[in-house]
């Protein structure tokens, strides 16, 4: 699946393991949270990079204790109108200091890329061909003036005093 990261499409180093599929703990795999919770023993000895897929509706508290074990968190966007992952992303970045890859998977469309970036996502699995075509031209539509702090953003001159870079 095309992966957009840091302004271009890149080779995906990760393999996504679908729900219910067997696998060995080889590393660089993205597994469902339930799988991780059931099979974590197998990973505890290996210390390979592991990614976890979080469906909307799963509370951060359900996996926050293991955060340091994850090199990647994939947040599922079932429909582009579903905004839950935006809050989860900000919490992971700003409150819990998650430094790994934060990947948006599901219905990720071109007009949502900018707000997702501002909430701390840094990687996007793109399935929509129009979005893919637009991103290939290097175009991420959006605005350039913001009234709120964004994750990892330096404020622009003239911006509001409470608009400060989020603590990382």
């Amino acid at each position: 699946m095309p992966l957009y990261k840091n302004g271009s499409f890149v080779q995906d180093q990760w393999t996504t393991i679908p729900e219910g599929e067997a696998m060995s703990p080889a590393g660089h795999v993205i597994v469902p949270l339930t799988w991780w919770q059931a099979e974590r023993q197998a990973f505890d000895d290996s210390h390979v990079p592991i990614g976890v897929r979080i469906d909307p509706g799963i509370a951060i508290d359900d996996f926050i204790a293991d955060l340091s074990r994850f090199a990647l968190i994939a947040l599922v966007i079932p429909k582009f109108q579903d905004g839950r992952a935006y809050s989860t992303a900000r919490l992971l970045r700003e409150r819990h200091g998650f430094k790994g890859e934060l990947r948006a998977v599901g219905e990720v469309l071109i007009d949502q890329i900018q707000p997702m970036l501002r909430c701390g996502f840094d990687a996007f699995e793109i399935t929509d061909p129009v979005t893919q075509a637009a991103l290939e031209t290097g175009r991420v539509p959006g605005v350039t003036h913001f009234y709120q702090p964004g994750v990892n953003e330096a404020p622009k001159a003239g911006a509001r005093p409470w608009l400060r870079q989020a603590g990382r």
Binding site: A59, Y86, R90, D111, P141, H145, W162
Partner: protein, 557 residues
């Protein structure tokens, strides 16, 4: 009033470019209608029964004469010569062509206005008391805080895809004229026992299909925490609010299903966990924004106006107008003038381009350049010298704007109903017109006293019928319009939802039913000063029910 700086102006220009690009991509087929819909709504563009409708924000209901003239210009050039002021301090144009909309938005940007977030599942136009900055009972002007909320919520990256729309309202006075308890979040400015200013915060109010009165979640929130606390509430809602059913997606349902105490605990925990202080409002910034809302320098005047008293003595119509439409200003010798957009038999909330231009002119000549739009769909000149009222009255009367019915029975809130709206199940405007004609604005209306009638043409309740002293809900039963009545609702600080009288009434009979309610009230009130709401709260539904359903006419359905 607030003036855009370079940053604000650049932001609105940015947004206009973004939307124009989205329109282009829709036209080229890159965006599907479903994908485009969400963007068009977040820029105020609806597809209505007959045409596109453009809803323009009037943040916290404050307008300058220049802005009102621009709205008049838009009405004349792009619409049919009038606009419709709504219950959320917006103005709607019902007939613009889609191709003209970017140009209209450009015209609006030239006077520091926009249509951003007047629709969509995001934080909507922030509303406030239309008497703010002038009311005699005010603790502090709520508009600087409303402006801060407006800025912070504009294209908020985290809160643009909420489960459902989200409405904020603020009041600076103990007497709530902004209906804050029927908003998703309501903020009431209060003083604590140390004399500090803060907010009492209400959450989970709303009307619509499942009306609920908001719960007080905070007795006192320091003003500096306004944004951080709001973020906590909206974040809990964004994460936990239902998304499986749009009719159960508002925060009121979350509060109801989760339980208010659990909701409060979740919000407080989220607020406590946010240690960043990123959103703490610097006092200097509150002061900077407050300076824009500094009251005009009003020259001292005698409390009693000779000019007014002389005219009053010789002109009954003028006397009635002053008695009914002028409210107490904080400064002696001045009044808050409500300009009723409820002419007898007219369409509630409509104003022609000529009327808008007249009000703009009067605001310049007599009103210190300020105009307000009330959620009751009227206009307000908040600072008029009592001495100038005769001249203002004469000018208004010449344009059909001197209806003396502010707060009376013919000052009706009505949704557009089946005449414009694609959701409506019954007509609302013609019902409002007939009630207005029945009771008018003469001595009978004055004798009835303070009375809020609110009409909705479907269960979505845009006409706020649940909080009408008398509420009317138009429904469709087997292809026939039927009107359900509720009594005893109130949207002020004593917020309550009205009680349903019983079976509904036909389109033909509903006005007679209202008259029965009114006559019953007149017959049972303890003194002429006991208003309808007080009387209803004292006696309850029984006498009204008896009068309505034990009539001989047999007209009930």
């Amino acid at each position: 009033m607030y003036r855009y700086d370079e940053f604000d102006a650049a932001f609105v220009a940015d947004r206009l470019n973004q939307f124009s690009d989205q329109v282009q991509r829709r036209l080229s087929g890159e965006l599907t209608e479903e994908q485009f819909r969400i963007h068009r709504l977040m820029n105020g563009v609806y597809l209505q029964l007959h045409a596109y409708m453009l809803r323009i924000a009037i943040p916290y209901g404050t307008l300058s004469p220049r802005q009102l003239r621009k709205l008049a210009h838009i009405a004349r050039r792009y619409d049919k010569g009038f606009g419709h002021f709504t219950t959320r301090q917006n103005i709607q144009f019902n007939w613009p062509a889609l191709k003209d909309i970017p140009e209209i938005l450009g015209e609006l940007a030239s006077v520091e206005m926009h249509a951003i977030q007047t629709s969509g599942n995001c934080i909507r136009n922030v509303t406030a008391d239309h008497f703010a900055g002038a009311a005699a009972d005010e603790i502090e002007d709520p508009r600087p805080y409303a402006e801060i909320l407006r800025q912070w919520s504009s294209i908020h990256p985290e809160f643009t895809y909420l489960p459902r729309k989200f409405k904020l309202a603020l009041s600076g006075s103990p007497h709530d004229r902004a209906a804050i308890q029927v908003h998703d979040i309501g903020y009431q400015l209060v003083k604590n026992d140390k004399g500090e200013t803060g907010f009492a915060v209400y959450v989970g109010g709303g009307l619509g299909r499942t009306p609920m009165v908001g719960h007080k979640i905070r007795d006192f929130l320091p003003t500096k925490d306004l944004l951080a606390y709001t973020q906590a509430i909206v974040r809990v809602y964004n994460l936990e609010g239902r998304r499986d059913n749009k009719y159960k997606a508002r925060i009121k349902i979350l509060v109801h299903e989760k339980g208010f105490e659990a909701m409060r605990a979740a919000v407080e925990a989220e607020f406590e966990a946010d240690k960043s202080e990123l959103l703490a409002l610097p006092q200097s910034e509150v002061e900077r924004i407050s300076a824009y809302f500094a009251p005009p320098a009003l020259p001292e005047r005698a409390a009693q106006s000779q000019a007014l008293e002389t005219r009053r003595a010789s002109d009954h119509a003028f006397a009635a107008f002053v008695d009914v439409n002028v409210s107490k200003h904080r400064q002696a010798g001045y009044g808050l003038l409500t300009i009723s957009l409820k002419p007898i038999g007219g369409i509630p909330g409509d104003a022609t381009a000529e009327q808008m231009e007249l009000v703009a002119e009067l605001a310049e000549k007599f009103g210190h350049d300020e105009i307000r739009v009330s959620h009751e769909q009227n206009l307000v000149l908040p600072h008029v010298a009592l001495d100038d009222l005769p001249a203002v009255y004469d000018a208004l009367a010449a344009q059909g704007l001197a209806t003396a019915n502010a707060g009376l029975i013919s000052d009706i809130i009505s949704c557009p109903g089946m005449d414009y709206c694609s959701l409506a199940t019954a007509r609302s405007i013609p019902v409002a017109q007939r009630i207005s004609e029945r009771f008018a604005d003469g001595p009978r209306a004055k004798d009835i006293g303070g009375m809020k009638i609110k009409i909705s043409g479907c269960i979505n309740a845009c006409g706020h019928h649940h909080v009408g002293h008398i509420g009317i809900l138009g429904l469709e039963r087997k292809g026939v319009e039927t009107y359900q009545l509720t009594l005893g609702g109130s949207g002020d600080e004593s917020c309550t939802l009205g009680d349903i009288t019983g079976p509904g009434f036909s389109y033909e009979d509903v006005v007679d039913a209202i008259e029965t309610v009114v006559d019953t009230y007149i017959g049972l009130r303890s003194t002429p000063d006991e208003d309808f709401l007080s009387a209803y709260r004292r006696v309850g539904m029984a006498p009204f029910k008896k009068a309505l359903y034990e009539r001989d006419s047999g007209s009930e359905i």
